[in-house]
């Protein structure tokens, strides 16, 4: 009766697919939600970056020196008025709706600067620039003005340059666009994937095992000739399958919204990953989700009810999240193969190496073999739980 596990799997799938609400919340919603949130976030950031660039700003300048005048007048979208900066003008700037910047230069600025000796101990001449950082336009003009003046100051005392921009075709950062994007993705995506898979498992596993125990339906299964290991295997495989679908939905959400998030289309960056890269990621995810589902099932079997299961699973979730965060604290992936025996950590490291274009086969094989072993152990443990009257019937 080996196909009993298959009968259980079919029932679990029928449960999720027959329930439109459950199907939506566990499989469709994660991807949709990620897509919407990331897209909004991306377009929000883009809006912030471009906002206020075309608004006219009035720049009132007192004692505008001749040397600085051309660069102030050449700032885009500004009207320069040379007049005394009064206290009442400064007070008016407190309103963030005023597109203005006020600058007060010391009298005879040029001649003071020309004769100023930094060694003398006398304070350097000070330029006062009043602006309102809550007003995007005002803030933008302040930044440009400050930038131009700083550049002018450097030019006055110019002794040497670093990475001068006017050298033609200059490229000093030798990382390719691929590498830059790869290193960002390799730090972020593995954790996102683990979190998505976990939320997929959490959406169904506790109710499928602790819930069946709580509602008394598991006992009905236990009086049939169904072997306990068939039940354990059927549960773990079906829960993994559903969690995987949820994970894939999230993955699609990430893949579609990521270009918007990092504005890759604006920067002309493309993702360069091969089919085998994606295949390795998919297999790694599948192996990780198997352990995840079997451990969550094990804890759910031990729990008294669904609520209790949630509490018991929390520490396990923190461990998984921690594993997902590891790429942020380390550079590169570990050399030693024994590191790939640690569940979840190994999956994260393999994914990191793929995204960073540094994938090697041995770690992948060790990871898969280890994870399949752990799943086997967990299924064996779950079988023992189903066999234990203390676990199954104690309230």
């Amino acid at each position: 009766m080996k196909n009993n596990a298959w009968t259980i799997i079919k029932k679990e799938f029928a449960r999720v697919f027959g329930d439109r609400q459950l199907l939506f919340t566990s499989v469709i919603m994660p991807g949709l939600l990620i897509y919407i949130i990331y897209s909004l976030l991306g377009s929000g950031m883009q809006k912030m970056a471009t906002e206020g660039t075309d608004e006219m700003v009035i720049v009132r300048v007192e004692n505008l020196p001749e040397s600085v005048a051309p660069m102030v007048e050449n700032l885009p979208s500004v009207v320069v008025l040379q007049q005394a900066v009064l206290q009442e003008d400064i007070d008016k700037l407190e309103s963030k709706n005023l597109n203005e910047v006020l600058a007060r230069f010391p009298e005879a600025f040029d001649s003071i600067v020309a004769t100023y000796d930094p060694q003398s101990g006398v304070a350097a001449p000070n330029i006062e620039i009043y602006y309102n950082s809550a007003n995007n336009a005002s803030s933008r003009v302040y930044q440009m003005l400050k930038g131009s003046l700083t550049a002018y100051e450097e030019q006055l005392s110019n002794r040497f340059d670093i990475n001068r921009a006017d050298v033609e075709e200059a490229q000093f950062d030798m990382a390719s666009d691929d590498d830059v994007l790869g290193s960002i993705l390799s730090k972020l995506i593995p954790m996102l994937i683990l979190m998505m898979l976990f939320s997929g498992v959490m959406a169904i596993a506790p109710s499928s095992i602790a819930g069946e125990k709580e509602r008394g339906t598991i006992a009905t299964l236990l009086v049939t000739p169904l072997r306990r290991n068939e039940l354990a295997l059927g549960k773990v495989v079906s829960l993994s399958g559903i969690a995987l679908m949820s994970g894939i939905s999230s993955f699609i959400g990430i893949a579609l919204s990521l270009p918007k998030m990092i504005q890759a289309d604006a920067a002309g960056i493309e993702l360069h990953y091969t089919t085998s890269d994606y295949l390795v990621i998919l297999i790694t995810i599948m192996a990780a989700v198997l352990i995840m589902a079997s451990v969550v099932s094990l804890l759910s079997a031990l729990a008294k009810d669904v609520k209790n299961a949630g509490t018991m699973i929390m520490p396990f979730m923190l461990v998984v999240v921690f594993c997902g965060l590891t790429p942020m604290f380390q550079s590169g992936t570990p050399e030693s193969l024994t590191a790939y025996l640690i569940p979840f950590y190994n999956a994260v490291q393999v994914m990191t190496s793929v995204f960073a274009h540094e994938m090697k086969w041995m770690p992948v094989i060790v990871t898969l073999a280890a994870n399949v072993c752990y799943t086997g152990i967990a299924v064996w443990g779950l079988t023992r739980m189903f066999n234990s009257e203390k676990v199954m019937f104690s309230k």
């Binding site: 009993n4 006992a219 009086v223 049939t224 000739p225």
Partner: protein
């Protein structure tokens, strides 16, 4: 009459948690639910386990259904040991108690097929049996209604039918009429007699004297986990009504304690 069930010295002890100790006002760490119980049941009879609440009836039946394991002793159902051959035992028996629930989300139709598949029954046999049983219990009209939306009585009938998907030779029934309205209870007791006519063996537990008198061929009286009397109904009653005879025995057992 051939023997189909042989129970040999079955014992079961439960540990008490501290909370349970407080509730029971006892310092005992363990409670003996079933104490060295032995009896037999014959093919084609209805055997009743009669006893007050907490006497160990349910524990005995759960051990026979292999849901829990005995501490000592063994029982053989149609030659299969509940200790060493639990899967074979489960394939032979139908077990019904109000503790066994059906998943609210599914329909009687789906559940009948699902459980039939777990017993490895051929598809054409499933369809045939389903049609017969659904008609017999009036489930056919509700075959596609989710269990959650069924009335309590209909749920019980579906549970009964589900426990019989594999047409078992041996049916274990814990408190068959508990919580049922008079109509459903009548349907169930009628069906038990029908099963006996088909040559099935039924073992049921109850604390209702009239049910034993109405249905059972033989009866075992359990008090405090021990078999106090066992045999054909007339023999156990010994000329008295079952109720009077039971209280006589109860006094004999408990007399020293009170």
């Amino acid at each position: 009459m051939s023997e189909i069930l042989r129970v040999e010295g079955l014992s079961k002890t439960f540990k008490l948690t501290r909370k349970q100790q407080q509730i029971e006002r006892t310092s005992r760490k363990k409670i003996v639910a079933v104490d060295d119980l032995s009896f037999t049941a014959n093919r084609g009879e209805i055997f009743g386990l009669l006893g007050p609440n907490g006497a160990g009836k349910t524990t005995t039946l759960r051990m026979l259904a292999t849901l829990i394991a005995p501490d000592k002793g063994n029982a053989f159902i149609d030659g299969c040991s509940i200790v060493s051959q639990p899967e074979q035992v489960r394939a032979k028996i139908g077990f019904l108690t109000s503790e066994l629930k059906l998943e609210d989300f599914f329909t009687p139709n789906y559940l009948f097929d699902f459980f039939s598949q777990l017993y490895g029954i051929a598809p054409d046999v499933i369809a045939q049996r389903k049609a017969k049983l659904f008609e017999r219990f009036g489930i056919d009209r509700f075959a596609e209604v989710k269990v959650a939306n069924l009335s309590t009585g209909m749920k019980q009938k579906v549970s009964l039918v589900i426990s019989l998907v594999h047409d078992p030779e041996f049916v274990i029934f814990d408190e068959p009429t508990n919580g049922l309205d008079v109509l459903t209870a009548r349907t169930v007791t009628d069906y038990l007699q029908e099963l006996r006519e088909q040559g099935k063996t039924i073992i049921l537990s109850t604390h209702i004297f009239s049910l034993v008198e109405k249905l059972c061929d033989r009866v075992g009286v359990i008090i405090d986990g021990r078999m106090t009397a066992c045999g054909p109904l007339e023999e156990v009653c010994n000329g008295l009504s079952l109720e009077d005879r039971f209280f006589e025995m109860y006094k004999e057992v408990k007399g020293g304690e009170e």
